[in-house]
Amino acid sequence: MSTRRINWYKYAAPANFYPLAGKMIPFFTVVTVLLFIIGLYVGFFVAPTDFQQGESYRIIFIHVPAAWMGMFLYVLMAVYAGLGWAFNARLGSMMATAISTTGAIFTFISLVTGSLWGRPAWGVYWVWDARMTSTLILMFLYIGFISLQASIDDSRRADRAGAVLALVGLINVPIIYFSVQWWNTLHQGATFTARSFKMAPSMLSAMLILMAACWMYSIAVVLVRVRCIIREREREAPWLAEAVA
């Protein structure tokens, strides 16, 4: 029974997490850079040209991972915010705040790349198809979360109010997604489905590598941001003076 157990609770305290995060950041940064280089190389030079869409399809190597990250990070953010609220764990709330910006950036990237891809594929920059519309709404949810937290001065209230909003949003995301799908199928005029193209193995691997790269990037950036938040919030704490010195 007496296997060695890691004391996870220890790292829920900002004072212990701060140095740990500091040690982890260089590792994740290096991995991110490597994966991006490999992924982009495979995506741009190894993967074959699509016979229908030509070279322009390559934007999906950025678009798809960004879209996925936008969604994952929203869920992750809501979970962290919820944990921070339920267990009164400041670090959880700080993580949620840190994730929100990264998630919003990915969602924004996926919107921009989506419309850039739409131009050659559909002939227009924007179509109200189900996926683009849901991504847009996801962006709105991020904006709501970020602006709510930004306009509350008291950090404790900001954390908890953000948690309520994120959880309400989380319950709503499937409903919104479903309703947009329905709406889309009913307004046939606006439906553009991307012609499915056969994915060569190298395309798939490029996509997966870049997906991993985005994950690593998110982890690295979120850790950096969490450290900033900790430094800002705990500026009075004695341990911080020691850690920074």
Binding site: L141, G144, S151, I152, A161, V168, S179
Partner: protein
């Protein structure tokens, strides 16, 4: 106690009836602007009518959200309400009920008249009313969450729009869907059932979230 809370809000709204009327006129004016902006072709107007009525209803109901808790927060009565020996869930529900009666029901009543401006048939007008009756309580229920979260903040009015409007989207889609389905002669029932389902969900979850948000904001 539940009745007292709703009753109290109804009396207060009656004393401020000008505010309530302002919301109603906002709704009327906004819907009347669309024919002016788009042109009076009956065909076009019929097509845009469901969306116009619903979007205007969303905006009008948002204008009144600040009143659900705002004044009570300012003068300290909100604290006293939260300190009464009843679950905060019920207090929220009572206040939301009052808000719906005061700010949403007038919109539902006036909507058919506005529908006439857009040349909707009688049958369609009926669905306009039914869809609004099912959908507007959801607007009050979800809006209350946003109102509670933004209590006492500087830009509360703008902020509440950012928080709440994205959450209104399913109601908008199902509400307009029901009306369009009637116009096109496809089935209206599934849309209304979906609206009903959302109402049930909102009824169960939203007051809970609102009372959590209130406790956070009052602290």
């Amino acid at each position: 106690m539940f009745g007292w809370v709703s009753w109290r809000d109804l009396i207060l709204a009656w004393r401020h009836r000008a505010d309530v009327l302002a919301t109603l006129f906002f709704f009327i004016i906004v819907t009347s602007l669309f024919p002016l902006g788009i042109g009076p072709e009956p065909q076009t107007l019929q097509t845009i009518a469901p969306g116009v009525v619903w979007v205007a209803a969303l905006l009008a109901s948002m204008l009144s959200l600040g009143r659900i808790f705002g004044n009570d927060y300012q003068d300290g009565t909100l604290e006293q309400l939260l300190l009464t020996p009843q679950p905060a869930y019920l207090i929220v529900l009572a206040k939301v009920l009052a808000h719906w009666l005061v700010s949403e029901v007038p919109l539902v009543i006036i909507a058919p008249v506005l529908g006439l401006q857009f040349g909707l048939s009688e049958n369609t007008l009926l669905i306009v009313v039914v869809s609004l009756l099912l959908g507007t309580p959801v607007l009050s229920l979800i809006g209350a969450i946003g109102a509670a979260l933004t209590l006492g903040l500087r830009a509360a009015n703008v902020l509440v729009a950012l928080l709440v409007l994205p959450l209104y989207i399913p109601v908008l889609i199902f509400g307009t869907g029901a009306i369009q389905a009637t116009v096109n002669g496809t089935g209206t029932k599934p849309w209304l059932l979906l609206l009903g389902a959302i109402l049930v969900l909102a009824f169960v979850f939203a007051p809970w979230a609102t009372s959590a948000a209130l406790k956070i904001s009052v602290e």
